[in-house]
Structure formats: structure tokens, C-alpha cells
């Protein structure tokens, strides 16, 4: 495996070029070339693909793309490249069984295969969406611990205001918010009875490396996950490399975050699928990850529940799970918000797609994770129950369910309802959803059971 210092050398000595040139003269032409070369074509009739050969071609295309294009370091304006031999070696040596969490909540994260009976890892919470203050932050985290029995790890929210002041990146307020997040998150999970549950997105309030590293001193453990991201497309900067350096020396877990954009430089779903595979390889070789967390996302709609993104996730998910033992998650962002039918249909479609295609799940962002306080523990609970309800399901059966769900929501994506706030849906004193929401949940559950989801309970 290429040593991290060697990667730094390449960041300092690789081919010098502008970001614009990298995007338009290197990345885009090569991506279009491999899409054509490997005959990758979007099939809107089958958003949950059943084509093994297509998946394997996408994987090969991804290797070729990464080997030819490399990763662009924004700070040095140089390209970090890897040979195909190094890539294949990295694939063979990639982590297989990282362990997250402590005590009873310690668990091995394993890679899955399409149609697998192996339970997906459920990384549950808010997808980094923002709560308005510390009180709500603490409340929702405690309720995640109480209310999500299928959670294997937690994704904590961002805090928008600290001590009544709006948090801003690269200011002392960001440092304070990050410190406070770590302290409160740990305590809240303890109060909820799950002290060992790993926080896998480290500190959502931390935009800068300084804040993430500083905040982590106040409660994060090596068995948590440090969510560290690439930049679209196939770029990295020193801040992220700084974080990786720190986590590696801590003996911690990098959760390598990647997000190819449909409609951006990747073009359409074919390009997104291939880029997602290239990102999987970047997660191993450059990010030194324990796993990949990916969320291909639609440029126009800001969500992952559109038909074309589902297809890209499905095809690349199968490409990866068929050819790599390195675990990966598919994170989903749905357009609609809490306590809306659309939110639940979108969630079900994206989760079924991800799990049957061989991924584990992070759920996730509701109302696109951009509406403050618009999320509750009900939506990730729903995601986890659906995820467990499709274990061992065939791709063809899953595809039929996904298509039926798409028919219920896809035309409404441009004008999705943002739903209700946490405090509107949740009985804060009783620490459970309001009756109306519980009834709503059971109704939708019955609908999905009718469609074929085999709920555990």
C-alpha cells in the first residue's frame, strides 16, 4: 500500500495544472472515454440494476479512470497519481474488518454482497443537518440512543447556534461548537443507555481541520469514525490531509466521504457510477479509510432519491461489492421532510436500493438536510427497519418495489414538502414520537409490508 508520506511527495511533486484544466481537460474527457469504452448505459427502467456484467464493467472503468486521472491537490495544484499496479495492490490490502464502538456496542463492519443475507451496518441519525441549539442537540442524540435499537453507529447533527450565537466556520465559535458537540454527544448517548455506540461522523459542526481535531479531544474515541471528505470531483486539500494525518496517528478510523455530482463534471448517471468506483479506490489508497461513505447527489434537486441517482448508486454499489472487500456505505438524502408520506417512500426506495446492491446504509438527510430542526429519530428508525426487511431479497424483486415507490414520489421531488420540526413531532417529556406520528408510521409500514418488505417486527 502506498505510504502516506509518498502521497505527500506526490502532492508536492506531481504534474502542475490548474483546477479548471484538471476538470475539463483531464477528468471529463477520460470519464467520457471510459463510459463509452466499457459500454455503460443508463437504464431508467431498472433503477435497481440486475446486471452483473454491467457492474463489473463499471468497476473496470473506475480503475482505469483513477489510474489515468489521479487526484488533484487544490493547495499545491498538482496531481497525485497512482499506477494500476498500486491500485490493485491497495484493493487487495484494504481493511476488511474494522471495529467500531466499545463494550456491547463494539461491532465489526463487514463488506456485503448484492442480495446478501448479511445485515447491513445502520449508521443512523441526521446526516449532518443542523439543530438550532445545544438543548435540541442533546435531546435528539439521547433519543437516537433510546429509540434506534438497530443503530450500529450514530451520525450527529450540526449545532447552528452556541450560547445564542450563530456558529461560523474558522472562528472561535466553531471551535467551541465542536468541543461542545463532542461532550454533549457522548453524554447524551450515555444517558440514552448506549455509551459504547460509536459516533461515526465525528463532529458535524466542524468545518475546519482545527475544529475537528480540537473538538475530538473532548469525547471522541479511536473507535469512533472521523468523517473526512474529498471535493468534487476527485480533489483533496491540505485540511483534509491534515485530518487524515491526525487520525492515522491516533489509530482511529477515517470514514472516507465521497460525493460525485450528477449533472456536474461527472455528467449523467453513467459518469457518476464510474466516478463512484474511482472514489472507492481513492478512499483506500489516498484517504487511508476504514470504509467509504458515498452519496452521489443530484445537482439540481440536492437529493439522492431521483431515478438516475438510484441507478448510479445501484450499479456502482454492485460494482464495488462484487469486486472489493473494503466496506462501504451509501448515504441518502431525501427531498421531503418529517412526517410526510413522501419522505418515507423516498427513504424506503433509497435504502432498499442500497442494501440489495450490497451496501450498508447511512440515514440520513431528510428535507435534504438543509432545514434546521427538521428531522427526528423516526426517519432513521424507518430506514433501519426497511434495511433489515430486505435482507436476502433478490434484485429483481427489490427493483419492482423501488419502481412502485418512485411512482409515488418522483414527480413531486421539485416541490417536496419540508415536513415538520423535531419539536412538532416529538413528545420531549415522554421521549417518544407523538401519537399522530406513531400511527402514521404504522400505516406506512403496513403499505411497505404489502409491497413485500419483510419487517422484523
Amino acid at each position: 500500500m502506498v505510504h502516506f508520506l509518498e502521497i505527500m511527495d506526490r502532492a508536492l511533486e506531481g504534474r502542475f495544472t490548474s483546477a479548471n484544466d484538471f476538470d475539463l481537460s483531464i477528468f471529463v474527457p477520460k470519464l467520457r472515454e471510459v463510459v463509452k469504452k466499457y459500454g455503460i448505459k443508463y437504464d431508467p427502467e431498472n433503477p435497481l440494476s440486475c446486471d452483473d456484467d454491467l457492474a463489473d464493467r463499471v468497476f473496470k472503468a473506475g480503475i482505469e479512470l483513477f489510474a489515468e486521472v489521479g487526484v488533484y491537490c487544490v493547495d499545491t495544484k498538482r496531481i497525485i497519481k497512482f499506477t494500476e499496479e498500486e491500485i490493485l495492490e491497495g484493493l487487495a490490502e484494504a481493511p476488511r474488518y474494522p471495529v467500531f464502538g466499545e463494550g456491547n456496542d463494539a461491532k465489526v463492519l463487514v463488506a456485503r454482497k448484492p442480495e446478501s443475507e448479511v445485515e447491513p451496518w445502520c449508521f443512523l441519525g441526521s446526516g449532518g443537518a443542523a439543530v438550532s441549539n445545544e438543548r435540541l442537540f442533546e435531546s435528539i442524540l439521547e433519543n437516537y440512543a433510546l429509540f434506534l435499537p438497530l443503530a450500529n453507529s450514530i451520525t450527529a447533527p450540526t449545532i447552528k447556534e452556541i450560547e445564542g450565537r450563530v456558529v461560523r466556520t474558522r472562528s472561535p465559535l466553531e471551535i467551541l461548537a465542536s468541543i461542545r458537540s463532542s461532550i454533549l454527544a457522548r453524554e447524551a448517548l450515555r444517558n440514552g443507555g448506549r455509551a459504547g455506540l460509536p459516533i461515526m461522523n465525528s463532529i458535524a459542526s466542524a468545518g475546519s481541520d482545527t475544529a475537528k481535531i480540537a473538538g475530538s479531544q473532548f469525547g471522541l474515541r479511536p473507535t469512533d469514525g472521523w468523517l473526512i471528505g474529498t471535493m468534487a470531483e476527485m480533489k483533496v486539500n491540505f485540511e483534509r490531509l491534515n485530518e487524515i494525518t491526525y487520525v492515522m496517528n491516533l489509530g482511529g478510523h477515517v470514514v472516507a466521504e465521497t460525493a460525485p455530482i450528477l449533472g456536474g463534471y461527472c455528467g449523467g448517471p453513467e459518469g457518476v457510477a464510474v466516478a463512484n468506483v474511482a472514489y472507492h479506490l481513492i478512499s483506500i489508497l489516498l484517504m487511508k479509510g476504514s470504509c467509504q461513505l458515498t452519496f452521489p447527489i443530484h445537482l439540481h434537486y440536492g437529493c439522492t432519491s431521483t431515478r438516475d441517482v438510484l441507478w448510479a448508486n445501484s450499479v456502482s454499489g454492485q460494482a464495488i461489492s462484487r469486486n472489493s472487500h473494503f466496506p462501504f456505505f451509501i448515504l441518502n438524502y431525501v427531498a421531503a421532510g418529517p412526517m410526510t408520506e413522501m419522505c418515507f417512500y423516498e427513504t424506503a426506495a433509497t435504502v432498499i436500493n442500497a442494501v440489495i446492491s450490497g451496501g450498508s446504509i447511512e440515514f440520513g438527510g431528510v428535507a435534504k438536510a438543509v432545514e434546521v430542526d427538521h428531522f427526528t429519530p423516526m426517519e432513521p428508525r424507518w430506514a433501519s427497519e426497511v434495511a433489515h426487511g430486505v435482507l436476502g431479497m433478490s434484485r429483481s424483486q427489490g427493483n419492482e418495489i423501488v419502481k412502485k415507490l418512485l411512482a409515488r414520489y418522483e414527480d413531486d421531488i421539485p416541490k417536496a414538502p419540508k415536513g415538520k420540526t423535531y419539536e412538532q413531532c416529538w413528545d420531549m417529556k415522554a421521549k417518544q414520537p407523538i401519537r399522530e406520528y406513531r400511527q402514521f408510521y404504522q400505516k406506512i409500514k403496513a403499505e411497505l409490508a404489502e409491497l413485500g418488505v419483510r419487517f422484523k417486527y
Binding site: 476538470d23 475539463l24 471529463v28 487544490v74 443542523a130 450540526t158 447552528k160 450563530v166 456558529v167 461560523r168 466556520t169 474558522r170 466553531e174 461548537a177 459542526s205 468545518g207 475546519s208 471535493m231 468534487a232 486539500n237 455530482i261 449533472g263 456536474g264 463534471y265 461527472c266 455528467g267 449523467g268 445537482l299 439540481h300 440536492g302 438516475d308 435534504k368 438543509v370 434546521v372
Partner: protein, 216 residues
């Protein structure tokens, strides 16, 4: 060659993203002494409209838009010096655009910058992680009409408010139209901070920019 044939070549050059074809057609237009403004209107701009429509229908994507814009710009470089004085193709306005301090996201912002440029604005793209001071300084330097700020994080969108508050404090708020956009922003946020334009998406932002400029 008839001017209509040259207009067609300019149009096709943009739609096919063929820079050489565009340059050749522009040079021919100049050589034949035809009106460059007609070439722009009937050839280049029509081509960009087709590309823009396909982009909005998700048949084409950002790189296609950028490559078409490159063809457009290359041809314009040849035609501009020959536009008769007095019928100068004046920009519809000047825009200073960037992603706010602490935020490194760029794709959405670059898309807006591109659409503004092809929509006839003179655009100064300051890049990412741009401080309030830099926005204001640059806007003053180029005598901008519009300051456009993008933010993709809830922890950085406060910088949009900061810019507007700072403009008020230094007595320059009325000098600029302020446009905001980005995933965590909304019309409600725009109203709350006193922004003039909320760009719900790139196309809407640009069309509102044109509307505001026409009233200025």
C-alpha cells in the same frame, strides 16, 4: 458565403462544442464585413440557448455548458473588436461572485457564474473561501452592480448576512444588488438578512438578476 450560412455555422459550433469551427466562422463573418452583432444574436446566442435548454432538461451537463461557453467566448474574442462604436455590446451588468469564507464548494457557484456570463453579464469569479472584505473591495474596484454569494453549509451562510450588514455599516448597501444562493439558503433566509435576490437555482438567480438590472 451568405451571412445566414455563417450564422448557422456559428450556431452549430456552439451546439457541437467545436471551438475551431466557431473561430473559423467568426473570422469569416469579419472578413465578409457582416454585422458581428447579428452573428452573436443569430448564431452564438441561439446556440447557447439550445445548450441551456438541454441542460435544464438534464440532457446535457455542466461540462457541456462550459465547453459551449468556451466556444462562445472564443468567437466573441474575434468579433468584439469589430463591433461598431456606438453599438457596443454593453454588458447587462457587472457581477462579483464567490463562495463565502470557510466554504470551499464551487460547482453550483461556477454554474451561476457561467450562466450570468453567457447571459451577457461581466463576471468576476473570486473563487471559494472569499472573505467579506474581499467581496466588498473587489466589487468597488470593478464597480460591480451585483454581489453574488454562495454558501453550502449552515455554518458558513452567516457570512451572507455579514456582508449585507457590513455594507449597511459603511453606507454602501444601496450601491449593490445582493444575490444569495446555496443549499441551506432559502427565500426566508434572504428576506431575513435583507438580500435582494434569492437564487433558488442557477437559472432563477440569473433571470432575477436580469430583471433587477432592467429596473436599475
Amino acid at each position: 458565403m451568405k451571412k445566414e450560412e455563417i450564422f448557422k455555422a456559428l450556431f452549430e459550433a456552439v451546439v457541437e462544442m467545436d471551438e475551431e469551427k466557431g473561430k473559423d466562422a467568426a473570422q469569416l463573418l469579419v472578413k465578409e464585413n457582416y454585422n458581428p452583432l447579428e452573428g452573436i444574436e443569430n448564431g452564438l446566442s441561439k446556440g447557447m440557448k439550445v445548450i441551456g435548454d438541454k441542460f435544464n432538461q438534464f440532457e446535457m451537463f455542466l461540462p457541456d455548458l462550459m465547453m459551449a461557453a468556451k466556444v462562445f467566448d472564443s468567437a466573441m474574442t474575434i468579433l468584439k473588436p469589430h463591433i461598431a462604436a456606438g453599438s457596443e455590446l454593453a454588458p447587462k451588468g457587472k457581477v462579483v461572485i464567490g463562495t463565502v469564507k470557510g466554504d470551499i464548494h464551487q460547482i453550483g457557484k461556477d454554474l451561476v457564474a457561467l450562466l450570468l456570463e453567457t447571459g451577457g453579464f461581466e463576471v468576476h469569479n473570486l473563487g471559494q473561501d472569499v472573505s467579506t472584505f474581499t467581496f466588498i473591495e473587489e466589487a468597488g474596484r470593478v464597480r460591480a452592480d451585483i454581489i453574488a454569494l454562495s454558501s453550502l453549509l449552515t455554518t458558513t451562510m452567516v457570512a451572507q448576512k455579514e456582508l449585507i450588514d457590513t455594507l449597511k455599516e459603511i453606507g454602501e448597501r444601496e450601491r449593490y444588488i445582493v444575490m444569495i444562493g446555496g443549499a441551506p439558503t432559502s427565500q426566508k433566509w434572504a428576506d431575513e438578512i435583507g438580500a435582494d435576490i434569492y437564487g433558488e437555482n442557477a437559472e432563477k438567480g440569473v433571470s432575477l438578476a436580469l430583471e433587477f438590472m432592467s429596473k436599475k
